[in-house]
Amino acid sequence: MDAAPLRLVVAGHVDHGKSTLVGRLLADTHALPEGKVEAIRAYCDRNAKPFEYAFLLDALRDERSQGITIESARIHFRSATRRYVILDAPGHIEFLRNMVTGAARADAAILVIDAVEGMRENSRRHGWLLSFLGVPQIVVAVNKMDLVGYDAAVFERIAEECRRFLEQVSVAAAAFVPVSAMRGDNLVRRSETMPWCAGPTLLEVLERFEANVSATGGPFRMPVQDIYRFSRHGDPRRIVAGTVLSGSLSPGDEVVFYPSNKRSFVASLEAFPGPAPERYGAGDAAGFTMTEQIYITRGELAAKAGERPPVVADRFRAEIFWLGRAPLEVGREYLLKIGTARCPMQTERIVRRLDAAVLEVKEGGNAVERNEAAECEVRTARPIAFDVVGVDERTSRFVIVDDFDICGGGVIREAMSGETSHPYRQVMARNYHWAAGRIDRDLRAERHGHRPHLVIVTGAKDAGKKAVARELESRLFAEGRLVFFMGIANLLYGMDADIKDMPGTRDEHMRRLGELANILLEAGHILIVTAIGLTDADRALIERSVPGDQIFVVWIGEEVPGAAGADLCFSAHVAREIAVGRIVEVLRDRGILFS
């Protein structure tokens, strides 16, 4: 079978010879179409230009129809023993975001440094980025040795400078190789020009690198991509699907999902066309069914009971690298994606900004500029599950989305104190001890013709909220749905009687409302409640108990600042049939009410 190619990126400062090095590697490994080098030489002679291997890349790029091994953004070559593919070939629009895209999936990187100029801005920035992105294998090529008279002292000085820098960013280069890409010294062919160099050639270093390096050890981690139930196709299985990052999973294992803390046992592993393996390990696109029909959704991180659990927190310290056109601003809301979870976030504080080019630290500030790195304190709207860098890299990484695009990446250094607030810890304990029956949510939903949902009708006082809520209940009931309207007074004078008149208990009121709603939702209801002037903070509290995607907010009357983002708004005293008609329409569009 075709072995995996080694995926390479070539990094380094502009004009330090990246393209020349790649051109020469291609020529010396005979990866070029016949006659190509000669043709470029002839072209250079005719135009009185000095021949450069870098021209090869440009020339190859123009040969689209040749298309044997050459692509414009990826370049292939092979040694006697294996294939290589250079991702984001140098010279191809040199945007940092392309280099980041290539480097993040590379097995190895060549960092090219000019022997005349030494370490420059992008030598350092790229070195830092290779470390940040987690490129597992790095070799440094000190290039243009011909221009410094193949002087061992120059090489030693630059290698030492580079080694010290890489140490600071926690990278150990596999080797430092003195080369002249222009003349082909020590790339593929060992050169007599540097008899003092006893080390390997660049290609020899590359040959020792491993393709598809992946850490397999550590506890089981699998971000849940989805829960599949294709009952329309006559398939009753309810399958939790995801890609295993580390550890392994077998039938009978107890799985715990974070941040919800819900748990169940693995009933079976699933695969198509089958039979399923006896265990799923790191890297596998896995699927399993559970013994208990707990309700979990995409975004949870699956771990195993008895192994080190991930951290759950809504505040943490992270190192962030920013690529966005607009700067990353303190206090602004962005979307964070970690594993398969997505969650609103904001940067509370910039601890220090790091100019990756000089590793110079600048204190504080209110924004992180493009191509800048920073240590930040981040708060997420909900608790998220992660591991910290140094313990488990892959589950410590997140990206930040601004205006529909990924604009930055980060690694979590540590959870911050007060990490998981008290109410959420209660929810986690509740979930951990939750005893589920045999009937899962999907079965209930099929019977009732809808998914469970909490509909909150809110807005100004006396705007007609209750009239709409009651009308909605009648309409849904008439359609045969399992629906219940609950006035807030029912709660206040009953379950909340003990704290009704106590000051400072709004949070506890919300928590109780959320927990009651959670039980009714588990039972399959559409629960309709009314509340005066629901705020963002109230909604966040309810969302601790009830997942946000099961809450529908209808606002009646004039909207006020700080009001919870409403799914639908109506003016005060809207005709209730009109409001209800519209609510039902939207619930149907969202797939909450089945047709």
Binding site: A4, R64, S65, H76, T101, A103, F230, A285, R298
Partner: protein
């Protein structure tokens, strides 16, 4: 983990991400080997099901075996099958085979324009499993996520794609201005009116495709194999612009051998596709406009 296993696992991961993130999702199926591997991977990803419609852009000049094979698999695997055509151009006889258009302009009319219209929800025909016929789709919704089986090594412009590549409101591709993609986080957020092309096979090579077809015993259209006359197709398209090659290979295994060390090891895969040669850079231009 073997290289094929690693490729398979990444593709499945991408398919599942696409399904989780795009409410209105479809998969382009050209009937060729790549998109058929993709279809197989979808069945693996979703445990035997294909939970989104397949879209075939039918230029009306496809080789007849391709259409037969498409409808057979549609029935056997109970696929939701949507077919789109540029009926207007076909009625007006605007095409290369009709002698009224150059090859590239014909691709633009019958493929790019048809694809753009189909994705937007115009002129879709859907297979009715009860009657066994195609009929106009009721209430078509524009697709916001489009899975395509392109590979980076096929031709130059495709190597610049991301796994999740954004397309503008008119399906255009701003190749020089793509967001970064790293740590298996993809572009799953998009502005209204735009859509995202999803490419689970980006890292596969032609050899990988055939090794996988052989390993998984994936049913593929017979045109790829020498039926005894020493000819077979290496790449499939419309009959006026696709030509068979001389080859004795009768099985996927023999094709792998032929590609690795035999007569084809130094010849481009799409050498039998005439539109690639008509216009240097023509395919990249087409891709920027929304071509597959």
């Amino acid at each position: 983990m073997s290289h094929l296993d690693a490729l398979e696992r990444t593709s499945i991961h991408i398919l599942r991400e696409a399904y989780a993130n795009f409410k209105s999702l479809c998969m382009l199926w050209s009937i060729g080997k790549d998109s058929t591997v993709l279809l197989w991977l979808a069945r693996k990803a979703f445990f035997g099901h294909v939970p989104f419609p397949l879209v075939h852009i039918d230029t009306s000049f496809k080789i007849p075996e391709m259409v037969e094979y498409r409808d057979r698999l549609t029935r056997e695997w109970r696929l939701t099958m949507i077919v789109g055509r540029n009926e207007e151009a076909l009625k007006a006889k605007r095409s290369f085979p009709d002698g009224t258009l150059e090859r590239i302009a014909c691709c633009r009319a019958l493929k790019t324009d048809a694809l753009t219209a189909t994705l937007a929800g115009r002129g879709r025909m859907i297979y009715n499993h009860e009657t066994g016929r195609y009929e106009p789709e009721r209430d078509p919704v524009p697709f916001t996520g489009v899975i395509a089986g392109i590979r980076a090594d096929e031709e130059g412009s495709r190597s610049k794609e991301r796994y999740f590549s954004p397309r503008g409101p008119a399906s255009e591709w701003r190749v020089g201005d793509q967001p970064p993609e790293f740590w298996e986080q993809f572009k799953t957020e998009f502005a209204p009116g735009t859509h995202v092309r999803i490419h689970p096979l980006l890292d596969w090579s032609e050899i990988n495709i055939w090794e996988y077809i052989a390993r998984e015993k994936i049913p593929t259209v017979s045109l790829y194999y020498n039926q005894g006359n020493g000819m077979r197709y290496r790449s499939l398209g419309c009959w006026p612009c696709t030509f068979p090659i001389s080859s004795m290979s009768r099985t996927p295994g023999e094709i792998v051998e032929e590609l690795r060390s035999g007569a084809l090891s130094r010849i481009a895969e799409r050498s039998g596709r005439a539109q690639d040669k008509d216009d240097d850079g023509g395919l990249e231009t087409l891709r920027r406009e929304g071509y597959m």
